[in-house]
């Protein structure tokens, strides 16, 4: 059995590699293979996979990339992920990527799709829209057509048709992936001391790079190995971290939260891994199945409209209950409109349900963790000092 440390080391190597060696090698292994990049947080990876291409999550440059040219394209009041992504592009680190998908999440990513078309004309770039109307006959129809357009684009890119059967097979693989991911999350919420969040994070990040088959293997190995670890249980409080669906926090931030006394028992890192909450049906029209899963079975996040005022924010309360959390940490990228505008709404729902919360902002390259430790620590203190009285 592979030891946890080895699995994590593998993930760390993938995480640190800003040249995407794995994806380059995957592509070079068989002539004609294509790589399709996508920005956070959601794209139907099944279609990319079915087209024989590797879906590659592009999640910015983290805290190790020196951004020079990227800053030349963005004012200081715009978040960091687009600039480090541009840096990756301009410095040739993404030169093996054949297609790029920019999901509909905010105006920044939306405009980046147009910039990519201008700056990298050889890459097939597409703004990928999803419906905000959740009726089958309205938003559903629109989305089915969008998916079909994407399918055509991928077919053109790969030089071969993307058949229904191929999509069905991919759906099955990704169902498996989502199941394993759910299991990891369940394990962590049960025994957070055995599954440090930094590890779980790296494991999820690996899913943005590895071929799904390989990621599935890695997840299974981790699920087998982690419970065997002998790790001391600490006197920590249990929290849900939310608001991080796009620009990623530095790994140190995740570590700092745990070091200062909080176990993260649920989060919205790498939502694409858990986008559909249950299996997407494999039988029947696969495009339609994907569309319906999006409409009725997808996770909530601030980039999605909630038609029903009464349901607004309840998903977070559910997450708290399900994971047995004692509080919520809102950690959002600085200058992120979707996360920061959503925050007061979610907070009022939490307040109404008596769930304590704290909030702070970060940037993918934040270096100073002192304020973060201060806040997470105080939060943990207050739970620790008062809970047993």
């Amino acid at each position: 059995m592979t030891a946890t440390a080895d699995i994590v080391a593998r993930c760390q190597t993938l995480f640190d590699d800003l040249h995407f060696t794995y994806a380059r090698e995957w592509k070079a292994a068989v002539p004609g293979r294509k790589v399709v990049g996508y920005m956070p947080f959601y794209v139907p990876r099944e279609l990319i996979h079915a087209a024989g291409a590797l879906p590659l999550g592009v999640l910015g440059g983290g805290d190790q990339l020196e951004v020079i040219h990227g800053d030349a394209y963005y004012q200081s009041y715009i978040c960091r992920i687009p600039r480090s992504t541009v840096e990756l592009g301009v410095t040739g680190r993404l030169d093996f990527v054949d297609g790029m998908l920019f999901p509909s999440i905010c105006d920044v990513i939306r405009n980046l799709s147009g910039m990519w078309k201008i700056m990298f004309p050889k890459v097939k770039s597409r703004y990928f829209d999803v419906p905000q109307n959740f009726r089958n006959d309205v938003g559903g129809e629109f989305y089915i057509n969008e998916l079909n357009e994407l399918r055509d684009m991928l077919a053109e890119l790969g030089g071969r048709a993307v058949g229904d059967d191929a999509i069905r097979a991919s759906i099955a693989l990704y169902n498996e992936n989502r199941r394993l991911v759910r299991d990891v999350y369940a394990l962590r919420s049960k025994q957070p001391w055995k599954t440090p969040s930094a590890e779980v994070y790296l494991l999820m990040r690996a899913g943005m790079i590895l071929a799904v088959e390989e990621h599935n293997r890695l997840l299974s190995e981790y699920l087998a190995a982690a419970p065997q670890e002998d790790r001391p249980r600490r006197d920590n409080s249990r929290v849900v971290v939310t608001g991080v669906f796009c620009e990623q926090p530095p790994l140190n931030l995740i570590k700092s939260i745990e070091l200062s006394g909080c176990y993260i028992v649920d989060d919205d890192f790498m939502l694409v891994n858990r986008w559909e909450r249950s299996d997407v049906p494999v039988e029947g029209d696969p495009i339609r199945n994907l569309a319906l899963a999006y409409l009725h079975d997808s996770g909530d996040t601030s980039a999605k409209y909630e038609p029903d005022q009464k349901k607004k924010g309840l998903y977070l309360v559910d997450a708290v209950k399900r994971s047995g959390a004692e509080g919520v940490i809102f950690a959002a990228p600085s200058f992120c409109d979707p996360a920061l505008l959503e925050r007061p709404m979610l907070q009022s729902v939490l307040a109404a349900h008596g769930v304590p919360y704290i909030a702070f902002k970060y940037a993918e390259n934040s270096g100073q963790m002192q304020p973060i430790r201060e806040q997470a620590g105080t939060f943990a203190d207050s739970i620790k000092l008062w809970s047993e009285q």
Binding site: E66, I68, H69, G70, A72, S366, G367, Q368, Q370
Partner: protein, 437 residues
């Protein structure tokens, strides 16, 4: 003779360049802007006039055969002694002002003790002064505020301790006085100071002793040449607050572009890092600005950042670069927020990083930010000229060279020891042109 003056009112320093009608630079002057802009202008101009005199001496003396290869040495001695004269003058002023400030609630009952302590401090400072201006002495800065200030603090700390006075109290007296002194234009007859300096040289440097008779004549002649201010152009950060009319003002972008062009006619890209802003300017072969970019309102990563770091470490600005050069590795620093520079530094020290390595990282981060602004303005074209106060910092220069090579290949990089005067030089050239047309 007709003189054309360019003034660059920077956020930290004010620079003046004085030019004759052949576009020949005669003198340069610099002072702290951290006071009153009018005074700063006056002082910088004054300094440039002093410097001009030395140029004129040089011209007059270079025809003398006797000095031969020793001319520069002589002028250097003369200038240092002149500076010493000025320094002693200002020190006396500072002492008077300090003493006058020892009154009021805070000093009640302690007037005498503080007065005595101050007197003791100034005795020490006066004693030390000649050494500060000796041939190979390294000074922390060229400004009276900095030189006198750092010595005052060290000496005052010892004396305060010995006489059981609070160090804070002594500092407070100084802080109050220095502002007044700084804002007072140098008093006294200038000519006397040159002549006194000449005497000092004669007395202290035997090799020139015998020549004084013959040197004095040309020096006196140099002092007699009238310098008439024909036209003045102001530029820089502070220009809007000056009582200059519109014709006497040019944007700092144009001035830096032209100044760099004058120094290096092949220049196509200019980077200027000043106290509060960083600008990247693209110029055409005639020195005309084609494009420029500046940092936005955030002052992160500008020269003042180094100032905060220097304060934090109780070092002079001159000393930061050399320390960074000793680094064996570069610590990654992602935030260049000036205000939190100190906190960042402490954070890293607490993590056990070495000072030199952190310092190297801080310099790199400033340059990275500048690189972004360059990139925003259209990148680096051959030749590249680096100007502004930070160009004096060797560690910053080293990082810049390396990053330019990595990102733009081999290009000629010009850095002039007088690069801090680039804006003023451009302004002076505009002044000269204004009269021509």
């Amino acid at each position: 003779m007709r003189c054309f003056i360019g003034i660059d009112l920077g956020s930290t320093t004010t620079k003046a360049v004085l030019m004759d009608e052949h576009f020949e630079v005669l003198g340069r002057g610099i002072t702290n802007s951290r006071s009153n802009y009018d005074t700063a202008t006056r002082v910088a101009k004054h300094e440039a006039l002093i410097n001009t005199r030395f140029t004129l001496f040089h011209r007059a003396l270079s025809v003398l055969p006797d000095l031969g290869g020793k001319l520069d040495q002589f002028l250097g001695d003369l200038e240092r002694n002149f500076r010493l004269e000025q320094f002693l003058d200002q020190l006396a002023d500072l002492e008077r002002t300090c003493l006058a400030n020892v009154k009021g609630e805070r000093f009640k009952g302690k007037e005498r003790a503080v007065g005595e302590a101050l007197a003791a401090v100034f005795v020490r400072l006066r004693e030390e002064a000649p050494a500060l201006f000796a041939r190979d002495a390294k000074r922390k800065s060229d400004f009276f505020r900095d030189i006198a200030g750092s010595r005052f603090m060290t000496v005052a700390q010892e004396i305060a301790k010995a006489s059981a006075l609070s160090y804070d109290l002594m500092l407070n007296v100084y802080d109050k006085a220095i502002i007044d002194v700084e804002n007072r234009p140098p008093a006294g007859e200038m000519k006397d100071k040159y002549l006194k300096a000449l005497e000092r040289v004669a007395a202290s440097a035997p090799e020139f002793g015998g020549l004084v008779g013959r040197i004095a004549g040309p020096v006196r002649e140099g002092l007699e040449i009238p310098l008439e201010e024909t036209y003045l152009v102001g530029t820089g950060y502070g220009r809007v607050t000056l009582p200059f009319s519109k014709e006497h003002i040019r944007s700092e972008i144009l001035c830096h572009g032209l100044g760099a062009h004058i120094m290096y006619p092949q220049t196509r890209t200019v980077l200027d890092i000043g106290g509060q802003d960083t600008k990247a300017i693209q110029v055409d072969p005639a020195g005309i600005v084609e494009n420029f970019q500046m940092n936005d309102r955030c002052a992160a990563g500008c020269g003042r950042y180094l100032g905060y770091i220097a304060d934090e470490m109780n070092m002079g600005l001159h000393e930061l670069g050399p320390m960074a050069m000793k680094a064996t590795r570069t610590v990654r620093i992602n935030s260049t927020c000036t205000v939190f520079a100190g906190a960042e530094l402490r954070d890293r020290l607490a993590l056990g990083e070495k000072r030199e390595d952190i310092m190297a990282g801080l310099h790199r981060s400033i340059i990275l930010r500048a690189m972004s602004i360059i990139s925003r303005s259209g990148g680096v074209r051959d030749q590249f000229t680096f100007t502004g106060g930070v160009a004096k910092n060797e560690a910053a220069v080293k990082e810049l060279r390396q990053l330019i090579r990595e990102n733009y290949g081999e290009v000629a990089i010009n850095i002039n020891p007088d690069s801090i005067y680039t804006g003023a030089l451009g302004a002076a050239a505009f002044a000269r042109r204004a009269v021509e047309h």
